[in-house]
Amino acid sequence: MNRSGGLHETLVTQGLELFARDPDVLKPGLRQKIPLLALGTAAAGVYFAALMALDISPSNIISGLGRLTNIAVLMFPPNPESWARVLLYLGALGQTLAIAFIGTLLGAILGCPFGFLAARNVVANRLIHFLSRRCLDTVRSVDTLIWALIWINVVGLGPFAGALAIMSSDLGAYGKLFSEAIEAADRKPVDGVLSAGGSRLHAIRFGMLPQVLPVFASQILYFFESNTRSATIIGIVGAGGIGLQLFEQIRVLEWQQVSFLILMVLITVAAIDWTSQRLRTAIIGQRA
């Protein structure tokens, strides 16, 4: 400050003069800030009220954090203890991937007709459009784990129920995304097929499908990625896969096994993300 005392003084006096000349521009009144401030205060108020309502106190958090640190220490190093267990876990991981794959595929196959039904430019009937959209929304609002519990009642405990659960919860999302892809498709090839004397089915097969198929494929790959994550937890309710092992090991407090399982999941998910990203660019790049 001392070094540039003169300059500092000048800047401050000039600044004050500027301020005196155009106070409105340089000092935006409280009025403009009121909506933002009110929103922020309301959000923070609800936040702290919620903390009170949920009965959360700092002492709870601190004592829990202490136990959590103990658990974290117990987790290292990740150790499966025996090769038999490694094989068991690898099998469960394979099952998880199989569940994700089958679920994704079934969901995509069943989602396709729904996508066309819910698309505004394929089915002009507003009622069908509205009903199919609401159906898809309903299916989407039920979580995968709840679907798993429902399917366990139908086909019994096991990975098949998991695959069906993933199929069901994806169905809603697929229908929505597919219908959006179809609505965004170019109309001209369809008109071309129709003008050459093709039927409406021909128009969909030769005019629409070549346009939307790459989009569908890249979305299906994306869903496969996210479904591997869902499939890792679906075993928690008894629908097969690595989640079952994870749940068991957490229940018996075998923390080294738990960390080993989490590590396996992390590596698998990373590998699948990488592969699917490669495939996605290949599919889209090839056709674009």
Binding site: I146, N153, F160, G162
Partner: protein, 294 residues
């Protein structure tokens, strides 16, 4: 019929046709190979996932009858004939559903704040040290990849049953997912204002406060709202492992075959999720509209 296109003589045509059929055959072979690989993977997965089409076919009746049973009261009457009996636990379920919403709300805000704090050191234009960036990004990736329900399982062991482990689990997962999105937003800002604040001697904190935040705030809030929708769904099942909310009662009802209770709770969940989606979509459109005229 008059021919409009001139056709070259056969000798000239033969190689063209040959090339075309070669190319078409190559494409067909590629497709066949792809389909064969897909079929093989499908077969292996079908064995792995113990797919039993016959069982499904035989028991698909269970699926439809399950929904039939869901809509029946204990005395065999349809649920809508006696709404009071159907929603006998309305007060308790509303409280639990409210708890679920609060868990989602608190977790989203906590996670969003965490993600905001993590976004500056994780983005290329604000953090010069590659090692710090790398560490923060790997942490976010870890939080993102581990599903929230796995965090919840571990946290229930540490914090005991209740809403707290649920909040922490959802918040941690949210930090991971939002952290990535926030980082991308921050990396795409105009660096002019940041340099302006830096040139007047503003600290790193001042740069973030006066140059970065005004540019990204509406975008971040929009992402946080989207995440809130997802977290409401996630919080409904977090109770399955004892981490608070309506999931606790739902899993008991499903496991003990209290059919009408299951349908009542599912209906409440679906309605709540839809209403929240609708409100949040409105708000996000507003935010986008607020941002665009600037």
């Amino acid at each position: 019929m008059t021919r409009l296109v001139s056709v070259p003589p056969a000798a000239q045509l033969a190689p063209l046709i040959h090339n075309y059929s070669e190319a078409a055959a190559a494409k067909r072979r590629q497709l066949a190979l792809g389909l064969a690989v897909a079929a093989a993977v499908l077969l292996v997965s079908a064995v792995g996932a113990e797919v039993q089409p016959v069982t499904l076919w035989n028991k698909i009746g269970n699926f439809t009858s399950y929904f039939d049973r869901l809509l029946k009261l204990d005395n065999g009457a349809r649920v809508w004939t006696d709404p009071y009996e159907w929603f006998w636990g309305l007060a308790r379920w509303s409280r639990l559903l409210g708890e679920t919403l609060l868990i989602a709300y608190v977790a989203t805000i906590t996670g969003a704040v965490g993600a905001f704090v993590a976004a500056a050191p994780a983005s290329r234009n604000l953090m010069r040290h590659a090692s710090v960036r790398f560490a923060v990004r790997r942490c976010l990736e870890f939080c993102r990849t581990v599903p929230d329900i796995v965090f919840a399982l571990i946290f229930v062991a540490a914090f005991g049953l209740g809403a707290l482990p649920g909040i922490l689990a959802v918040a941690l997962h949210t930090t991971g997912t939002l952290g990535k999105l926030f980082t991308e937003v921050v990396e795409n800002i105009d660096m002019g204002p940041v340099e302006g604040v830096a040139s007047t001697g503003g600290s790193g904190l001042a740069q973030v406060r006066f140059a970065v935040t005004p540019q990204v705030l509406s975008n971040l809030v929009s992402y946080a709202l989207l995440r809130f929708e997802i977290n409401v769904r996630g919080a409904t099942v977090i109770g399955f492992v004892g981490a608070g909310g309506i999931g606790q009662d739902l899993i008991v009802a499903i496991r003990k075959f209290y059919y009408s209770d299951v349908s009542a709770m599912l209906l409440m969940i679906i309605a709540t999720v839809m209403i929240i989606d609708m409100i949040s979509a409105r708000l996000r459109h507003r935010l986008l509209a607020m941002e665009n005229p600037q």
